[in-house]
């Protein structure tokens, strides 16, 4: 077996502003977050913000890049010197009722002491056929130079305002083989 459930966070009450995975075990090769999430912010879409990778409540020196499709066009973007890594776009308070965005976020070699921790995410949702120009299908990359080559021990997830009830994040550990096949 290669994929092990580590922890799950489900939003069951209004006003939850942060989802936190603390003391992440360092016994796997890779991490994967699988999410169905929505923001309560008064907008059509919101961002998934990742930070606090050392568990010291410091959010700084992040870079991220993305491409998105709206259904009628494609957009790209890049940011450096940010507090967080944006790892996806999700529906928010003005999206269609009961619509949640899906995301799969990979962090390879998260316990390495020689690599920066590159984050890759694919996320998306459909707003009941709306053509409001939102970033419905997305691919993101990012990393934190504040974390640098230190092992990643914590992940905090934020949105603008708070998460909608029903939001769920599952954290998995992924193992690799000790056989090379060379």
């Amino acid at each position: 077996m290669a994929m092990f459930p580590i922890a799950r966070q489900i939003v069951t009450t209004t006003g939850v502003t942060v989802i936190n995975f603390a003391n992440i075990p360092q016994t796997y090769s890779h991490l994967q977050l699988r999410a169905t999430s929505r923001s309560a912010n008064a907008a059509v879409s919101d961002s998934i913000y990742l930070g606090n990778f050392k568990g010291d409540s410091v959010n700084s020196n992040c870079a991220y890049h993305y491409i998105y499709a709206t259904g009628s066009g494609v957009g790209v973007g890049n940011y450096t010197s940010q507090s967080y890594v944006v790892a996806g776009f999700i529906p928010a308070g003005q999206s269609a009722t009961n619509v949640f965005g899906s995301a799969v976020i990979d962090i390879l070699d998260y316990s390495s002491s020689t690599k920066n921790k590159t984050i890759k995410s694919i996320s998306g949702w459909d707003d009941n056929g709306s053509s409001s120009g939102q970033p419905y299908l997305n691919m993101h990359s990012g990393f934190s130079s504040y974390l640098g080559t230190s092992p990643l021990t914590n992940i905090s997830i934020y949105v603008n305002n708070s998460f909608a009830v029903g939001t769920r994040y599952d954290l998995y550990g992924i193992t690799t083989s000790s056989t090379t096949g060379a």
Binding site: M1, A2, M3, S29, H30, A63, H65, Y66, I67, V74, V76, G77, N78, T80, D106, L108, D109, S112, T114, K115, N116, T118, I119, K120, I122, M139, H140, S141, G142, F143, S145, G148, T149, I174, T175, T176, S177, S178, T179, T180, G181, A182
Partner: protein, 174 residues
């Protein structure tokens, strides 16, 4: 309990720079294959479309049978293109990008033991503490009908540096 995702092989570059990575004698006991790559190239390809992880099924004598197309972005613009001669597993970081930063990609190979042509998809990113960083989705076709027993990976520019890892998984079906 039967598990669906099974680690088969992992190779890590532990010294020097390696020109290619090969998985040989891949067992035929799974339904699909998945390859997870964390890699960085030794050379600088910034501004030339960025380095890609190329892959070759069974033998390098088949490049004429390989074609791919992709959606690619570099942080400031996007494009869709296509070419032939090798498979495209996605971008990797290179020496022009932030030190110690590696690109990560995933290659999915369904029905690898079938006698049909092999269709595959890949998605990956590299990262950089600057405006430019590559990311892509690609669809790949290898027009070969024999089961896949080996996969070779290389890079279009330089070799793989220390810390690059390639992990092969088998996916079981019910």
């Amino acid at each position: 309990m039967a598990y669906a995702l099974v680690p088969i092989f992992t190779q890590t570059v532990t010294s020097g720079t390696i020109g290619n990575i090969v998985f040989s004698n891949i067992p035929s006991t799974y339904r699909d294959l998945k390859v997870v790559i964390s890699a960085r190239a030794s050379n600088n390809a910034q501004g030339t479309g960025y380095n890609q992880v190329g892959f070759y099924l069974n033998s390098t004598s088949y490049p004429a049978n390989a074609t791919w197309r992709r959606l690619f972005a570099n942080g400031s613009s996007s494009l869709s293109d296509n070419t032939s001669g090798f498979g495209n597993a996605g971008p990797l970081s290179d020496s022009s990008q932030t030190a110690n930063t590696f690109g990560i990609t995933e290659l999915y190979i369904p029905n690898y033991t079938s006698t049909n042509f092999k269709q595959m998809i890949a998605h990956g990113v590299n990262e950089n503490n600057a405006a430019a960083a590559g990311m892509s989705f690609s669809a790949n076709l290898y027009r070969i009908t024999e089961p896949i027993t080996s996969i070779k990976f290389d890079t279009s520019n330089g070799g793989f540096v220390i810390g690059s890892t390639f992990s092969l998984y088998g996916i079981k079906a019910s």
